[in-house]
Symmetry: C2
Subunit: 180 residues, 2 copies
DNA sequence: GTCCGGCCTGTTACAGTGTAACGACCGGGC
DNA sequence: GCCCGGTCGTTACACTGTAACAGGCCGGAC
């Protein structure tokens, strides 16, 4: 559907710091380590499927759909169904290891080890397809104030901004779909 | 999928407009009038399909999916395909007459005649399914500041808060799915 | 040991979401 | 007249997401 750029194709084998892309230095290993610690602490099962799902998402430099993930997890003899991926993603999102980008129906690794209360702002670049996750206490405060005033008790927050990232503004704007 | 109550249609006439918009029934007639004026001014075609689509969305008190709309627009002999509804919705969203709720894949009427620059905050109640649209200059400012700092040039903004609306907090929490 | 129950995964089936492509119709402008 | 642009009907298709059921695995109770 939205084959935005072949941003994350560089297969840089490994060893070099897995800065997947533009500015998302989510290191897969760090994220996996965090997951393992979390599972340990809470008595949860960080299964192979969940781990591989997390790795796939972390290694891509842009949001991945569930079916894309399923495809990447599948091998000639061994097909992974999307429904299994959804279940793994449920687990991962529930525990803050990946985030769902509602406006794209796609998933990105969590770039912060944010506390439960904090909510992120996602900056989605239309040119290169990258997603940057930031946190702003100021925005949180404004939101809290507005919500309180409206008598609304928030449970989850979605803040997604689409536009053009700094890197893409530099290069010729419409230099389409190129990796950052 | 989500048959959340038949919420809309409360004329809570009196004045506790805490946040300047009275989350009441968007007057369908007003919205249609606005559309007609807009089409007139810009030389656009406010066709029957677009008008009926707008009316259906405006008359419902909660977000409607494209297929729901198609169903409501269809009559025994005359079926309206979802794809036509999508095209009408494209037109309506493009011109700020309806909004898309990304987290629900559904549409609500615009409750403000907001200027192009302004972006809305949507308060989505998990209990009754209603959606309240508010605008906060403070939030806009915080966002702008964060975006500028990140060197990100925004094109569109999505802010959606899920939780429990004031009315539903009063009544027994889990009295789910009841009209407000 | 066996049995049981919970959790995870595989599988099938299905409903909902969204777009692409083609053709017809209708309104001007020329 | 003819063309051109925009709208709409139709078909087809791909993607998104959930429900339901079955099998496996593991740990605890007995």
């Amino acid at each position: 559907m939205d084959e935005h750029g072949t941003c994350g194709h560089h297969d840089h084998a490994h060893g070099d710091h897995a800065h997947g892309h533009g500015h998302g230095p989510v290191r897969t290993a760090d994220l996996v380590a965090r997951a393992e610690r979390l599972a340990q602490d809470l008595g949860l099962q960080f299964t192979a499927l969940r781990r591989r799902t997390l790795e796939v998402v972390a290694e891509e430099g842009r949001p991945l759909g569930a079916y894309d993930i399923a495809e990447r997890l599948s091998a000639p003899g061994k097909r992974v169904a999307a429904v299994s991926v959804y279940r793994a993603l449920d687990f991962l999102t529930e525990h803050g290891l990946v985030h769902r980008i509602a406006s794209r129906n796609a998933f990105v690794p969590c770039e912060h080890g944010h506390g439960a209360g904090e909510s992120a702002v996602f900056l989605i670049c239309r040119s290169c397809g990258s997603v940057d996750e930031t946190i702003s206490a100021e925005i949180e405060r404004s939101l809290d104030r507005t919500l309180a005033q409206a008598g609304f008790k928030p449970a989850s927050r979605i803040v997604e901004i689409e536009g053009e990232c700094g890197a893409c503004q530099g290069r010729g704007e419409a230099s389409r779909t190129e990796p950052c």
